[in-house]
Symmetry: D2
């Protein structure tokens, strides 16, 4: 999941580092602002972490990888936090089991806030020292830590949604807000954008921050293909359901069929049928299903089955990148403040490449040719998740615009569906 | 477990009912007073309920069985609470799964407090009405509800201890307090009190509140036996461990051996060995193991294995009652305020029959001859738990003195060990 | 289960021991005679053992407890059999996991037959020696071994039935045979036989073989009660089903309700509804359900729920023994050759006390007062199963008449239902 | 696993079809010839099928896809076999659960042999009809069925080995046979064969049988790389173990680390340490570990960890194919009769590309660009397994030479290790 991305850092930012640091750190608190104290501690499934844990773990990151090694005589806030808030860095030491994050009432939320302040104070000092200003490798680790924090910010949104959706009271994270992002007219049909065979270079090629799984640059050849001009909508996905999609084995991968039968999946994670009307649980509580908005919170298994049902397929990550090649990075990202996917506009050209929902590709998450693992614990960001997961592209409505790139490779297991994840179709020529 | 006791009510109390009601209800709040908001929501294992849940469920009891049927136009606080805070009354309707009580951040602790106030206001009015004053069956239900609440008060202590013991920070529920209940001298050896064969009557025979599983009165014949003058101490139990008790199959029931091997039990639930010294997690945090205090937090399986190891046995519930026959109800009960088992005094006669720890008997929890189940949902208090559990007697250091009786039958599964439960030995003559 | 009975042996038999030995040993082979080689190796659930395993384990018993200690220079057949065919005697050593008995293709059935011949040859020699003739304790162990073998013979029948019932081909163990044991007339209604309060002695009191859980003699007082003149029939049990018994929580123990919901029990283990007609899988394959025959293959949970549904209860083991006091030991036992329960005859008096089905009592299986465990591995026959199981009385249609006694205490877990187990009702006066 | 390969058939064979058919079908019986009847029915884990089941399922294939549709008035042998011996073709109908194949004593082995004869008789007739001779699509299905049978022949070897290795008696499938395939001299060090960047075409390009997952032809670009001249040996793998490989998280994928800790993996599946000497369970029983033979029966997880430990990596399937480009298809394949991996010869050039062990590649098993699923149930051979598995290349010591091709793509889950699977290393330039 997002918390486990690897990073090979070359960075440059016009914003002073200390402002960048304080701004990103503050974002995490802003996201949690609507929460009650009780909401901070809930773990509704192993993949979900309590919001409190996210706030602590991101601070642990700075403490472990910056303050302890580089700040002379740094006073550790609480030595047991190393055990409690390590996520998976085996080389750092043993850690509290992931599935038991929800049984920790202590440290309290208040203590976690104090922990953040403590870390931030020392980080502000550290950033101000001449030693750091001159040492790019330390700056790079700080920027890595901030990107790491932004990944956890996205998880905060999706975990909070899961926590609220699991509660029979179905609380609202925030009030319902009017969607001013879409056209009012009916959404246009999908158009198919064609691409010729092409041998090109892929991977991060610019100057600036990126994760190491985006490297190295390497050549890849794609055949002719067409890609859909927009995402699959709730309305279109509903036709698949109505047509018995979840009861028809022929559309499903063998692994998928086992999961949907065992877990009794009949619709996307947050859909509910009440009195013949479809609703969806959102950050604004239970809402009438927005028919033209992109289907969200579906697994790779469902995305693949849907594509099979309509005789299409998912694009590869390379195809997606080719289509994204000339597209500027904007869309319904976190910065829009809407935090919910919206219908595509009826303008010409390819739509919704960035934002709304992460787009499942049919590419398993593996190393690029020539990929090298970093040494040390930071290296655990890297190759260790490169099995049995699939690449997703483009960011979602809870991804900040400054965090996403064309070469950004997100990855989740094919059965995961609590993220804002959806479908863009492709076809062979 | 305690939450599931049955009740056949005949009651009489000199304290005005409304004061009795308000006093008992206040006790629940007092017990929770040292908790942080975060502590109220934790469920560390399926048997443990979040403190918040106990506070709500005991209120739900009054709402469901008293206010809804007897208070005209009672305004339900929140109609979804019926689903959320029903514990197991199948006839009342479906309910939130027991294992998922820890994922409910909402209603918040604040809302639960409001719920309690709401219920208490209407209960105070109800108790004041003439209709109730004249109707013994309603008064009996109120008294049942208060005894039910006292059972949950005991669970509050044991669940809080489990929640804190499961946290690597091992927080204290309260400061360590000096033990002024025991002698300072070394504890005396166990003496064996003899009883002759006797055909006697058992069951609740007085006037006042009792659960229906204490009825009806019935005859039972016990053979000659001897019973220990005090409980088994930590020091004595430690000998069993040192002698390889947990590695020697011959002392253990077949079911027990499976459990201790699967769960890797090596000592009582809250014992920890640090640098060759034994500690115990208590409500005052981690403490040096009190060697003369009774061993606590052990399962029936362990009690039985210990008894086999020293060529003794556990008493039956009938034998325990015979031994308790002339003993006044006092001891280290909740009213002492110590909330931890203490060493027996060196006075003559049988010690520690009431308080300190619930004493496992070798009697399976079954109906007394002639037992009848109540009709309706209240009847679910009754026979439905009469399988595969064992009877415990005498109350513990977190049982209020007014709640315990000679005929009181507590019951837990033979593998349960998060209660204050310990060992009194017996032998055949 | 049957394989786990304890034994305290005082024996006397008019049949020469060697003939007794050879006759009982031959019975095991006769029971297996209709099997194909493939049938010998199947384990359909953890509680079921492959027929091959029963044949080997009963031989292992004689080898381990008789030949190795008492036959000088006894040549062990295969030293690995000690590991493979030990059932649960922890003191004898480690053993092959119970749940994995079905993965052993070797030793082959042929080798197991050779093993039996080997053991039988040496046992015949051992029995012939003067040393044994003079040593009652050795004779007692041999007789124990033969009773142990008869228990496994009963398991052979019930395990074979489970193996065949689990196979979609539903093979027949033997041809269908006409029932000549019941009356042709319609079965009479249950009559209620009354018993007065009585203080009596219970436990094995005669001369001859018995298990040690039948000892010691002890006094017990029973209140007035009435017991049913015959077993509950399939037709009567069907009314419970038709009335929604399996959907109504109020009849079920709490533990039971969890099991029937989790396992989706809707009827007795071997019943099948086909085109609105009820069938039952039997040793003669799938047969039309015999409406007047006793209901069989039900758990304690179901027996108890049925009793609750009709406002009756199950008898205690003491009540059952009182009712059996004057009844001669005959009935539809294994010796009838029918191996299937049959309808009660319309003669006066209490019917079907012995044979047809084991009768669940409401008595948990615990030690009699004064019970002592034997020393050594043979002692593992004893107390180690005395938790969480229930006592059954009277034997079944696959129990040999010479094996059953009034004081015989069979025991199974309350959820077990692959035995021939059924219901006799009782009521308080 | 092998049973689940997809196929897109274009075929041509110089051997008359009927002879080809009878020869392949006879091979299955030959493989089973050393088995006892009891061996045919064992299922030691869900992935393993009883040998009897393989024999029946491969016949079911011909019955279902050839005889039923194309042989007029074909008399079905037993209509229940459709349910019993369907492996996973959901479109054909429901089927017996995979995990319960080991509980079917019936049909007996004898009946399965009759079933094979029945199917073979009708298949011989079908092949002889003019209608079939003229219809390439039917011939193609027959050839698919024979390739399917050969896949199950490989599984027969690996499943039998698992069955025997799981038995504490560790039986031999066959006598130990001398290895005449390797040099007697010490094995040479790995040499590194270099390849330049290359844009080439991949996929099956010849005339003849192949599976559809080998199609279509498509271009792919590989960077410079080096590949090892031979497989990793047991001796080399032992160094990884000795160096604490299984205890060092840094070498392992995150998913892998969970598996090896949960399952307590410490060495390859069939290795055993006895008195400081390493042994391996083989088809010839327990043998001293052959130090120069290739390590076998390891998972992808272990192959990947080993490669990380020695700062190498596994090759991609494309790299493997490039290396295999000029290599003739021979090696220690099934036809050698040795059925066990052997040490590489000391001749120059790349060794062991075909035979010995399947070589894990770092390529997830996904569709080639442009891949199309076949329609109908035969189409279930295809894409439905394309998730979470890895590609293996080159065949093993139990793969017939006629069955393997350069473009052959075998696939297993990264945790599977009961196949003859091993390691060839690669490095970036």
């Amino acid at each position: 999941m997002l918390s486990t991305k690897s990073s090979f850092v070359v960075s440059q930012s016009t914003e002073p580092l200390v402002e960048y640091y304080n701004r990103v750190r503050q974002d995490s608190l802003n996201i949690c602002e609507p929460l009650e104290v009780e909401d901070y501690n809930i773990q509704t499934m192993p993949e979900v972490s309590p919001p409190k844990w996210h706030l602590a773990h991101t601070s642990w990151f700075f403490e472990t990888f910056l303050l302890k090694p580089y700040f002379t005589h740094y006073p550790v806030f609480n030595s047991k936090f190393e055990y409690l808030f390590n996520s998976y860095y085996e080389q750092v030491g043993t850690f509290h089991p992931r599935t038991k994050r929800g049984i920790l009432s202590r440290p309290t939320v208040g203590t976690i806030f104090e922990y953040r302040i403590h870390v931030d104070n020392y980080m502000n000092k550290l950033i101000g020292t001449q030693a750091v200003k001159n040492k790019q490798s330390i700056i790079d680790k700080i920027i890595l830590g901030l990107n790491h924090e932004q990944q956890h910010q996205e998880l905060l949104y999706t975990d909070i949604l899961h926590i609220f959706a699991s509660n029979p009271l179905q609380p609202q994270y925030r009030d319902s807000i009017p969607n001013q992002l879409s056209d009012t007219a009916k959404i246009a049909d999908i158009k198919w954008i064609s691409f010729e065979e092409s041998l090109s270079e892929y991977g991060f090629s610019e100057y600036g921050f990126h994760y190491d799984n985006e490297k190295p640059l390497h050549k890849y050849i794609t055949s002719k293909f067409k890609i859909a001009s927009r995402l699959v909508t709730n309305s279109e996905y509903l036709e698949f359901i109505t047509d018995g999609g979840y009861q028809s084995s022929q559309y499903w991968l063998s692994d998928a069929w086992k999961v949907i039968k065992t877990e009794n999946w009949q619709q996307p994670l947050y859909w509910q049928l009440q009195d013949s009307q479809w609703f969806e649980m959102t950050l604004s509580g239970l809402q009438l299903l927005e028919m033209d908005a992109p289907v969200a919170h579906i697994s790779y298994y469902e995305a693949d089955a849907y594509a099979n049902w309509c005789n299409k397929r998912l694009p590869t990550e390379y195809e997606w990148e080719r289509a994204a090649n000339t597209i500027p990075i904007n869309g319904n990202l976190r910065d829009s403040g809407y935090c919910q996917p919206v219908a595509a506009k009826n303008t010409a050209g390819i739509q919704q490449m960035y934002g709304d929902v992460w787009e499942w590709t049919k590419s398993p998450y593996v190393a690029y040719p020539g990929f090298k693992v970093e040494s040390g614990a930071i290296g655990e960001y890297n190759g260790k998740f490169m099995s049995s997961q699939m690449v997703l592209k483009g960011g979602s409505c809870v991804t900040p615009v400054e965090h996403i790139r064309r070469s950004y490779r997100n990855f989740f297991y094919p059965y995961d569906r609590w993220q804002f994840s959806g479908i863009r179709l492709a076809v062979d020529n």
